[in-house]
Amino acid sequence: MKTENQRGWLFVLPVLLLVAFNALVPLMTVVNYSVQETFGNNQFFWHGIGWFEDILRSERFHAALGRQLFFTFTILLIEVPLGVAIALAMPRKGFWVPVCLVLMALPLLIPWNVVGAMWNIFTLPDIGLLGYFLNNTLGIDYNMTQSPVAAWITVIVMDVWHWTSLVVLLAYAGLISIPEAYYQAARIDGASNWAVFRYIQLPKMKRVLTIAILLRFMDSFNIYTEPFVLTGGGPGNSTTLLSIDLVKVALGQFDLGPAAAMSLIYFAITLAVSWLFYTLMTRDEQ
């Protein structure tokens, strides 16, 4: 019995090694950098928690974090209700089901940098379909390389376009798992459409929506590629989200120490908020 238990470790070992090399070791490198100062030549000096203090007091970090939170909560507030609404409107059976599903899945299949490039070209005022239409047909002054508002709207619309499908597909999966008898019973009980949504559909979707919100939170909080390709963080710093700022510090300025400290703080925030979300949403499960 006991030997069998010990043998189990051998099966876990490959995964353990893999995780160690692709996650644990790089993370520890970052931890290593975050507590040291370097002046090049591969010479490092102990710096304690100095970088952490600097980052946490830095106005620049606060601004980037603020933008990041604003971005994430805005897209969550749009994508979750919109995704649920679309899922509710989708057909449950028949010819249109696969059509809708494929259409919904399309944005998810496009590589992230392509999404950024697509929207960049799409919104160019002189040649982009949308940009040209807004500026020349409707007469709206729209140029995201000059106006922070236009840049923000574009980043958010792009993310909604790209990721609402994920919420739709998850919510739809939750919806079609509801047996027909629930709807029949609700009709017999005289429930209104709102009551059906509130007491049958929403509770049955709760689990998948929890997952959807968690995934969307983590992904959008760590978003880099699309806004980097689309706006590059500009105009000015107006769409410089946390990850973009981090890359600027780490690779632009090559400030390894502050960048490492920032990464760890970033990581801790993502982890903490995800945990908080999950705990809150599954609290009354028992």
């Binding site: 629930y182 029949q184 019973a185 009709r187 017999i188 005289g190 509770p203 049955k204």
Partner: protein, 358 residues
């Protein structure tokens, strides 16, 4: 509460039904009295659930009318028919407490809070759920969930009929019995018309005052449990009800007497029906082993507790007999004797002997 009348009801799931085979329900005429306990019994796919959904309004019949107390409700949606239905799998509102679940149908209809409270407490007491009113319904056992489903029908005072669609499917065997007697009890207390759909003869026969047996979209017999057992109108009923079912034996009929394997078989009465195919129907309970009669060989003996079921071969035909007392050895030769008053001839499946005058 209401008297329910079904008039020339037919239903097909196909948009353009051609022959009789395209209909899930073929010509149903039925009258159910106010306050009765009825069962719809039949094998899977016989159309009983279709019929139930038509009565509740979840399904619109292709042809025919449904009347509640003489008023045509054929085109009314379920919420306007004032009916309640309990489904195969318990349907409860997970996020609500037991109390809110029971109050839901009343609140949807704008009943005032005082009345809701009184009704919910009354029904909860009846269902023995009064100590769990504040529990979340999701945390209950399947049998209690099913009780809530029933309760949501019972709280409405004006409910015309409560329908049960195989409600004990997911209930543990020992609780089935309990819930079944609870149901019977509730029917006596409330006197609401109840229709119980099932393929389980025990459930149907213990619950209902009157059982409607269906096969292939047709009603084959309507009767009390005793009538169905004693004098099945159709070989299907004879075979479907009883354990083991009625012996159905091919026979020849000439001049009002029947012969099985060349032996004359005395019947309950004169053969009056005509058909192409004649069969003798006799329940295993009315087959005796004796010294004279139809020769047979014992093939199997099964002790089922209170009595013994003997399977005998009369030529190529299997005849079951339920025996008390002396049990023959398998392989031994015996003679079979049918109790005259309980032996009938069926012509093309339908009863063809006249009832014995006694």
């Amino acid at each position: 509460m209401a008297r329910i009348t079904l008039e020339n009801l037919r239903h097909s799931y196909l948009p353009d039904p051609q022959g009789a085979d395209d209909y899930a329900l073929k010509e149903i005429d039925l009258e159910w009295n106010d306050g009765g306990a009825y069962a719809l019994l039949g094998p899977s796919g016989c159309g009983k659930s279709t019929l139930l959904n038509i009565i509740s309004g979840l399904l619109m019949p292709s042809e025919g009318r449904i009347l509640f107390d003489g008023a045509d409700v054929t085109t009314l949606p379920p919420d306007q028919r004032n009916i309640a239905q309990v489904f195969q799998f318990p349907v409860i509102y997970d996020t609500m407490t037991v109390y809110d679940n029971l109050a839901f149908p009343l609140r949807n209809r704008g009943v005032d809070d005082g009345r809701v409270d009184a009704r919910v407490r009354e029904i909860a007491a009846m269902l023995e759920l009064d100590d769990r009113l504040t529990t979340r319904a999701a945390n209950l056992t399947p049998d209690n969930k099913q009780k809530i489903s029933m309760g949501r029908g019972l709280v409405r005072e004006d409910v015309n009929v409560i329908m049960f669609d195989e409600p004990l499917t997911v209930i543990d065997p020992e609780l089935k019995w309990k819930l079944r007697s609870k149901l019977k009890e509730l029917h006596q207390e409330t006197a609401v018309t109840m229709i119980y759909v099932t393929h389980d003869q025990t459930e149907a026969l213990t619950f209902a005052d009157q059982v409607v047996v269906m096969q292939d979209g047709v009603i084959v017999q309507i009767g009390t449990p005793v009538e169905l057992f004693e004098r099945p109108q159709h070989t299907f009923v004879g075979h479907f009800i009883g354990s083991p079912g009625m012996n159905i034996l091919p026979c020849e009929v000439d001049g009002g007497t029947a012969r099985f394997m060349g032996h004359p078989v005395p019947l309950e009465g004169r053969v009056s029906g005509n058909g192409v195919r004649y069969e003798i129907g006799v329940r295993p309970e009315h087959v005796r082993l004796s010294n004279a009669g139809i020769p047979a060989t014992i093939r199997k003996v099964a002790d089922v507790g209170r009595h013994v079921v003997v399977e005998a071969m009369a030529g190529e035909t299997v005849v079951n007999a339920v025996i008390d007392g002396m049990v023959p050895e398998p392989g031994s030769a015996v003679h079979l004797d049918f109790k005259q008053g309980q032996t009938r001839v069926y012509a093309d499946g339908w009863i063809a002997t006249e009832r014995a005058t006694s």
